[in-house]
């Protein structure tokens, strides 16, 4: 009988683990449904999780984006340092947007809420969300310190035993261009934690639990064992890689030495460029988050995220490098640099498990913050009209790197998990016309498998009146590289329609009568392009994604524009 009891206990632990993930998934869904910021509701830029009393993450919602997920996992410990569990009361909520204690820039709010059951504190719920406006310069690289980038919220109690801290909310409302949305978002973050606290208590009642610790230990043990088993499949050794980002006004080198140990993977970022005077610097938690994400996608994608499954991935980030920005360096668009880290990690892993990584991709999102009207052009005067006031940001992606067994994804976000907005919706909220948004031929890096193609956008205001872009684009001077003989993806291009080249980063004006052209990068190819199945090349040519010339010169396939392969000529070309 005791065997059966043990068996039942084992099954119940599994069911409870499953339920705990459901609790945090409900937490994330409530946030999506109630948040005001379109970045949360439409784009899905958020995360949610539950932590033990030592600040270790036990479970995390499947819904969410990697930068938030892994850096939030570190954040709760900082809250506990300032507010130990002994001072926390039911109905309290704690908040920060400190880039160094949260998820890397002021636009991300993190809220932590103690969970009580039967009068005892049993755990902590946390979530993170990207809000639309936090005052300051707004999203963009131009700030020279974090003080210019927006309102700074240290870790404070925003609700005390269910009562809002009105002084805090007064400051919040006064400091944002969108006070209603910001306040609404904070209420929504607190409300979704409240719901999870309630659901957790129900669960503990149903399973007759008095503490989360035994369940947490079971989850940690199972996850660590599974992660270590996956690490053990990777041959030992140290592997170096470097990639370059365009930087603000000079290139940035990202260097890594990855060492695969028996029970851990360590990454040392020595050799990485120093800090930038502009907001492309990366706080260390964000560096760890995206590096860890890149490794985990390759090594142990099936293991759920928690303290134990993330712990074996350890980062050593030298002081003074751009990946370890100290306060008060500017960090607003840290994602432009940080999104390249999975490519950097996969370049190391490629040397040891080449059939499990992808080629480099476009990686950094191309999110142009656009703005027009009197703040750009002043008042209309005489016969010079000025476009109506607007501020808007759109999310767009280039191509992902080719995979070992399949082509990269065309115009798809990776590593970011965000979604784009429909053009029709964008044109309804701002006086702009997007004249073109479609795939860019010949931008996917040639290879045995092809890199995902980038895209071209042509953006104007109604009537082609003057407006401005706060550029934060990358992969213009440094195109995504291929692997195994695969070629580079197409690099990014930023120009005016009349031909003038624009800078990759910073505030720039598109004059009357002109339009902004964005050509987003394509992903790198994988493997020798002359080994690609000619039928696949022919399909790409017929679809207009690869030109007849590139088919001939890069893939060595003779094919007509209609996709008819000349096999004899192809054999000759391929020798």
């Amino acid at each position: 009988m005791s065997n059966e009891t043990n068996a039942l206990a084992q099954i119940h632990r599994q069911i409870m683990w499953n339920r705990l993930i459901a609790v945090v998934e409900e937490q994330a869904q409530i946030m999506i449904r109630t948040a005001f910021s379109t970045t949360v509701r439409e784009a899905g830029d958020l995360s949610a999780g539950i932590f033990d009393l030592h600040g270790r993450m036990i479970a995390q919602a499947v819904t969410g984006t990697p930068g938030h997920v892994n850096s939030m996992a570190e954040s709760v410990g900082h809250f506990l340092k300032k507010f130990p569990t002994t001072v926390m009361r039911p109905g309290d909520h704690y908040i920060t947007n400190d880039p160094w204690l949260g998820t890397g820039h002021l636009h991300d709010l993190t809220v932590v809420t103690p969970a009580f059951h039967d009068g005892q504190i049993v755990g902590l719920l946390a979530n993170t969300a990207h809000v639309i406006d936090i005052g300051g310069l707004g999203m963009g690289p131009d700030g020279r310190s974090v003080f210019e980038e927006g309102m700074y919220i240290p870790i404070v109690r925003c609700f005390e035993q269910g009562k809002p801290n009105e002084t805090f909310f007064d400051f919040i409302r006064a400091g944002s261009r969108l006070p209603v949305e910001l306040e609404g978002d904070i209420y929504s973050l607190c409300a979704c934690n409240d719901a999870a606290v309630h659901r957790l208590s129900e669960m503990m009642g149903e399973f007759e639990m008095t503490s989360l610790d035994p369940l947490a230990q079971f989850i940690f043990d199972s996850s660590r064992r599974a992660t270590l088993a996956e690490i053990a499949k990777i041959p030992r050794g140290s592997f170096d890689n470097e990639i370059f980002s365009d930087g603000y006004d000079e290139p940035v080198r990202l260097s890594a030495r990855m060492t695969i140990l028996e029970d851990a993977i360590e990454v040392d970022f020595t050799g990485t460029s120093g800090l930038s005077p502009r907001g492309i610097n990366v706080p260390p938690a964000y560096c760890r988050a995206y590096s860890c994400f890149g490794i985990k996608c390759v090594v142990a994608p099936e293991v759920p995220n928690n303290w134990a499954s993330l712990e074996p991935f350890r980062m050593k980030i030298p002081e003074g490098c751009i990946l370890n920005a100290p306060h008060p360096y500017p960090v607003s668009v840290r994602h432009v640099t940080g999104h390249l880290l999975p490519d950097l990690m996969m370049g190391c892993l490629h040397q040891v498990v080449p059939d499990r990584v992808t080629a480099e991709g476009s990686s950094s999102l191309w999110n142009p913050p656009l703005k027009g009207g009197s703040s750009v052009s002043g008042q209309a005067r005489g016969n010079r009209p000025v476009v109506g006031d607007f501020e808007i940001i759109t999310f767009n992606s280039g191509g992902t790197g080719a995979r070992p067994g399949s082509d990269g994804l065309n115009a798809t976000a990776f590593p970011s998990g965000v979604r784009t907005m429909p053009v029709e919706a964008t044109e309804n909220v701002a006086p702009i016309i997007i004249w073109r948004k479609e795939l860019k031929p010949d931008s996917g890096g040639a290879g045995h498998t092809r890199g995902g193609t980038g895209q071209i956008m042509e953006i104007a205001t109604k009537g082609d009146l003057e407006y401005a872009v706060n550029a934060s684009f990358d992969r213009i001077a440094h195109a995504p590289k291929g692997r195994e003989g695969g070629l580079e993806g197409g690099n990014g291009v930023v120009t005016l329609k009349t031909g003038k080249k624009l800078r990759a980063k910073g505030f720039q004006v598109i004059p009357d009568g002109d339009r902004l052209i964005l050509e987003l990068p394509g992903g790198g190819g994988m493997g020798d392009p002359t080994t690609r199945d000619p039928a696949m090349v022919a399909l790409d040519v017929r679809d207009g994604l690869v030109s007849v010339e590139n088919a001939r010169t890069l893939y060595k396939v003779a094919v007509t524009a209609e996709g008819v392969v000349d096999s004899v000529a192809t054999t000759t070309l391929r020798g």
Binding site: E4, A22, T38, R41, A411, V423, N428, E438, D543
Partner: protein, 692 residues
């Protein structure tokens, strides 16, 4: 005067028929004939007429639902389709929302668009968001596409231009030009099929409509003529995904509205049962062989939505299918059915589904080649089924095969005996379904407080009690006829049509006359469609505005009065919005302007309401079991002798105290410990959980 009504539901494996005549119901299941589905239908019709003794001339109405359109999209067996679209936007179908539905899977595959790039043909034209022409339609450029369409042997054409839902002038002109040159090729316009904002969803819906249109039109005409050849003179109606019926003419124009009509029938069946029994808050739980479908039913009406995903490539993952923007009954479908296969993951956790053994080879106990354990194997291993009585005794199950499969694939990996592995599998699948139901309620802004779970399908009655316990629901109802619920649901559906249009408005500048003009035109369109099949029956009209705070991501539906609006209404509508918003999100946002994105008008015939439920005899004695059998309880793990009852032998008012099982031909109803069951006045099994 003919009065019988016949419903036909074509599913993947079976075609179900239900015939209602003189207050009696006859049901029949025949095999689906995929290559020519009308053959299976004709076999079924002949069978059901013979069994019921009804003459073909007595049939007054035929209602039909089918998965054919869905299957054509899933299996990519539709027409060779081209999309004519705005220059600069050739790749809307391929780019979607530029996201991945799985964050960690590097090898993720996204769904291929129904129209390949070389058949997505751009033409110069452009409107702005108000419908103003920025670039006129390039008619010469359009004519130049005609030889390409001919050379590529295109069988169906979709036209999708930006902002065409505001002003269809270019789409209509393009259609006219194409019709001159290609009179035999059907054309679907985005401004007709799905006239709403958001180009990806609209073009995707239009392309899917064009893709299934030729095949569905041919099939429906064939079916109609076969039925006529059998002497059937009754009109033929089609079940739509939104829960209403429509005529064959409308179905041939907008066949995309027929997807998922089977599950919609199931939800209507549940809603009817809810009305019969006077239940205001219901969770409909339909568990079949491959999936479980969950639907919230409040005040006797299934929850509806305007978007749906078809042909998900990522194993039921949200975001992995093609979006359709059509009126649908809102359901969550998860990969949890009797055939769902159990496994153990890298963390040593039991997982169930979404992979399914289906009907072939089926669970291991079918002894038909399946070696991996399915949910049915786990149920059998726990003692929940009589192996000699499965599917009315037509199929003998082998408990030893279940035992071996459970031990080999689950037990051995976790150090559990087969019976405990079975317990783990069943608990996990119940947990998954309960979690899906909880999250669905949250997404809908609702709770499960005081709901009744109505369980049907082959697996619903077996799992209903435990799923209810996990959600916190204390009442479960198992209606009769649960095996052909969808077909019965068809008989309860009204003739209805929903028209949706976008007209962007802010409250600060509300155009009363403009909105009235639009809503009245929408009403006329919906009423015209319904009048084809209502034969003068009384109709009702519902008007809804989809509204949100300026800049917010999601709209909420707010009812409007079904008449011309006057200026004084504007403030009332705004107040109604604040009320609805508070209901969803707890508090309104002071000081924010509100925008209206679109409107819906539904015209529907009035369905004669369910007759009041006869009172069940009270004080009935405890029912007598036909046998006792050892069954393992999934909560305690203990084995004890459970009483087994035969449903056909139960009489009204009979009372059963759990644990017990009520067996019938198509399924078994499990009454867990702590639950008490009785037959209500309609013969449905009603289970109540005692307070704990």
């Amino acid at each position: 005067m003919p009065s019988a009504r016949l419903a036909v539901d074509i599913g993947g494996t079976f075609t179900d028929l239900a015939l209602e005549h003189d207050g009696r119901l006859t049901t029949v299941k025949v095999l689906t004939t995929p290559s020519a589905p009308e053959q299976g239908v004709m076999t079924g019709v002949a069978t059901i007429l013979r069994q019921s003794g009804v003459a073909v001339g007595d049939i007054a109405l035929v209602i039909h639902g089918t998965t054919l359109a869905t299957n054509a999209v899933i299996e990519r067996k539709g027409a060779r389709t081209a999309l004519i679209t705005t220059e600069g936007f050739r790749d809307v179908l391929a780019m979607g929302n530029e996201s991945r539905y799985d964050q960690y899977d590097l090898n993720i595959q996204l769904p291929e668009p129904l129209v390949p790039r070389h058949l997505r043909l751009p033409v110069a034209e452009r409107l702005d968001n108000t419908g103003k022409v920025l670039t006129p339609l390039d008619e010469a450029g359009l004519r130049a596409l005609i030889p390409i369409l001919q050379r590529e042997q295109v069988e169906s054409i979709a036209i999708g231009f930006l902002h065409a839902f505001v002003n269809p002038v270019h789409e209509r002109r393009a259609a006219a030009l194409l019709a001159e040159a290609l009179p035999d090729v059907p054309v679907s316009l985005s401004s007709d099929v799905s006239p709403e904002m958001r180009e990806w969803e609209r073009f995707s819906t239009t392309a899917a409509n064009a893709y299934v249109q030729p095949m569905m039109a041919r099939y429906l005409r064939r079916l109609e003529s076969d039925l006529r050849a059998q002497g059937l003179v009754a009109p033929l109606f089609l079940m739509m995904s939104g829960g209403g019926l429509t005529t064959i003419e409308t179905a041939c124009r907008f066949p995309i509205r027929l997807v998922e009509s089977g599950p919609a029938g199931g939800a209507i069946f549940s809603a009817f049962v809810a009305r019969q029994c006077g239940l205001d808050n219901v969770l409909s739980f339909d568990m079949g062989g491959t999936t479980a479908k969950i639907c919230l039913i409040d005040d006797g009406k299934p929850q509806t939505a305007r978007t749906f995903e078809v042909a998900r490539v990522g194993r039921f993952r949200k975001g992995s299918g093609l979006p359709l923007r059509i009126p649908v009954i809102e359901m969550v479908e998860i990969g949890a059915g009797g055939g769902s296969i159990a496994h153990v993951d890298a963390m040593g956790r039991i997982g169930v589904g979404p992979e399914s053994a289906g009907a072939d080879p089926g669970p291991a106990c079918y002894c038909n080649g399946g070696t991996r354990p399915a949910v049915t194997d786990a149920n059998l291993s726990l003692g929940r089924y009589d192996p000699t009585r499965f599917a009315g005794g037509t199929m003998r199950l082998d408990p030893a095969a279940s035992h071996d499969a459970l031990l080999a694939h689950v037990g051995a990996r976790l150090g559990l005996p087969a019976e405990m592995a079975a317990l783990g599998v069943v608990e996990m699948v119940d947990e998954n379904m309960a979690n899906a139901a909880r999250v669905h309620a949250i997404e809908s802004g609702k709770t499960h407080d005081n709901r009744t779970l109505i369980a049907f399908g082959g697996g619903g009655p077996v799992h209903g009690c435990r799923v209810a316990e996990k959600i916190g629901i204390r009442r479960v109802l198992i209606p009769s006829g649960a095996g052909v619920g969808s077909a019965i649901g068809f008989l309860r559906a009204p003739v209805a049509y929903e028209v949706v249009r976008s007209l962007y408005q802010r409250f600060s500048s509300f155009d009363v006359a403009g909105v009235n003009g639009l809503l009245n035109a929408m009403r006329d369109e919906a009423a015209a469609s319904v009048s084809l099949g209502s034969f003068g029956a009384p109709v009702t009209e519902t008007r809804i505005a989809y509204m949100r705070y300026v800049g917010q991501g999601h709209e909420i539906p707010v009812p409007l009065p079904a008449r011309d609006l006057i200026e004084a209404d504007v403030g009332l509508i705004r107040a109604a919005y604040d009320r609805e918003y508070t209901r969803f999100y707890d508090r309104p946002v002071p000081g924010s302007d509100v925008e209206i994105m679109s409107y819906a008008v539904v015209v529907t015939t009035v369905v004669s309401d369910a007759a009041p439920m006869p009172t069940a005899p009270t004080g009935g004695a405890d029912a007598t079991p036909v046998e006792r059998r050892p069954v393992r309880d999934t909560v305690t793990g203990a084995v004890s002798d459970w009483a087994i009852f035969d449903r056909s032998a139960l009489s009204g008012g009979a009372r059963i105290v759990g644990p017990a099982i009520v067996a019938e031909d198509e399924t078994s109803t499990l009454i867990g410990p702590g639950w008490t069951a009785s037959l209500n006045g309609l013969g449905y099994i009603e289970m109540v959980r005692e307070s704990v």
